[in-house]
Amino acid sequence: MKMNPKRINYIFKQAFKSMWRNRMMGFASIGSVTAVLVILGFILVVVLNVNNIALVAQETFDQIAVYILDHVEDEQIEEMGKAFTQIEGVMGVAYQTKDYALEKVKEDWGEDAFLLQDLRNDPLPNTYIVQLTDVSMSDEVIAQLETFEGVEKVRYYQDAVNTLIRISDFVKKIGTGIIIILLLISIFIISNTIKITVLNRQREIELMQYIGATNGYVRGPFMIEGIMLGLLGSIVAILVIMFGYNYTMDYLAGRYLALLSGMSGYMVGVEMVINDLIIIFMTIGIGIGILGSLVSLKKFLSV
């Protein structure tokens, strides 16, 4: 189909005219697209971060921590260390006194370490760090470690990592469900907006069809209107996510700096995801717009 400037001009003029005429419905449409995308963005960001934390943590924590009860004598602790190395699947062990553990926490907390100064009893246990030869042996090793007398607790961070991965899977599944429902809702809202436009211009459209106007002329304005609504919704959503993400990060950093200082390395910066988000959001926004228009046109333009 040839696209002369006059035709394009007409199509866009009609689209903007009717967008202005139905601006309330237009706002509702844009709002619904924005809502879908912001929620999608939120879910994506959460999943991305949880996944990232899990990934980083997986590399960092392939060790088993064995907490020793406070009353256990030094000699016995030494004995235990020797016994641990004998277990199949253990590569080596390292001993960390409770004082050392505290120092390390202070180091991690940096400037905020003064918060720990008033701590009377060192709450951290003496700990053996057990390095595995093979992660797949972890279950057997843990089972054996737990049988030793004087062992308070065996912590394996891989469990925590697995929990994180489970959480992110869960968020993904629930998120997908919510997104699908919201997508359908916003397609419905857009198709209703377009429907109003179609009804407003019914006489004109009928006339066009009698005259023998090409489909581009008849459908073009509605498609453009739908696309514009979807696009505007996605732009608002991108802005919301961009500023919302930074604001949330700043807020959390200001409030829970100590906790986050350890985590900050694991968080994904907004600048790393924003390019992908822009592409995803615009595609989905425009997609919703096109689908919404098509639904309406199919229903109301049959002559």
């Binding site: 007409y10 006489r203 004109e204 006339l207 009698y210 005259i211 023998g212 090409t214 489909n215």
Partner: protein
């Protein structure tokens, strides 16, 4: 040029609007289609515009079965036909000039061509001085003349007019008829549905009379009847 061959249209399987209609309209003819409301005039026109499809039978336009035209080509087919409505259907927010130009813009034309041809058509229907008026500033007869100008601007081979004088008094109707006759003289086929007896009697044209969805009579132009006239 236009041929109906045993065409029947049944709505919702119970109501038969037209029944086994066969007729042939040659290029350049002027044909009245008459009959009371519900006789099948509108159905006949809708079938011809391919707004609806027949339940059975074949309608051909210049040898092509119009119901075999693909959906996306229907617009192209309709450009062969200029359509005039009883209620004019002018777009109220456009001037007379813009209403006519609109029909050209929808289909093809360069701005230059539009600027050249719209005034010609306006002068043909005698409304050169009303180009900048809006439809609600015009009388019914004038509005219908604008509608005729819009229907002929793309030079269709056929004009279909559905009760074009239905809302007009006799004097004004005569003006409309004069323009339609003029268009017909230039070679355009004109099919006009009407139940205005006075008009039909005043112009010695072919008359196809419908009753209950069938052809009651088909009187050739000049008064020779194919079938006995009913009084």
């Amino acid at each position: 040029m236009i041929e109906f061959n045993g065409v029947t249209k049944t709505y919702k399987k119970t109501f038969t609007a037209v029944k086994d209609i066969s007729l042939k309209i040659d290029k350049g003819e002027f044909v009245f289609i008459v009959g009371k409301s519900g006789a099948g005039k509108s159905t006949l026109i809708k079938l011809l515009l391919r707004e609806i499809s027949p339940s059975s039978g074949i309608i051909t336009y210049k040898g092509t079965d119009i119901n075999k035209i693909r959906k996306r080509r229907v617009a192209e087919y309709r450009r062969n036909i200029g359509f005039i409505f009883q209620d004019y259907r002018l777009l109220p927010k456009m001037t007379v000039y813009e209403n006519i130009a609109f029909a050209m813009e929808m289909i093809c034309c360069q701005a230059k061509q539009i600027r050249r041809e719209v005034p010609l058509v306006l002068s043909m229907v005698g409304l050169s001085d009303k180009a900048k008026s809006y439809p609600d500033e015009l009388s019914g007869g004038e509005q219908q003349r604008v509608a005729i100008a819009r229907a002929v601007i793309n030079k269709p081979e056929t004009i279909i007019a559905d009760e074009p004088t239905g809302n007009l008094d006799f004097e004004t109707s005569k003006e409309i008829m004069k323009i339609l006759t003029e268009i017909n003289k230039r070679g355009t086929t004109v099919i006009m549905a009407t139940h205005d007896r006075e008009i039909v009697d005043n112009y010695q044209k072919r008359v196809i009379e419908l009753k209950n969805g069938t052809i009651l009579r088909d009187r050739k132009a000049g008064g020779n009847e194919n079938e006995p006239k009913e009084n």
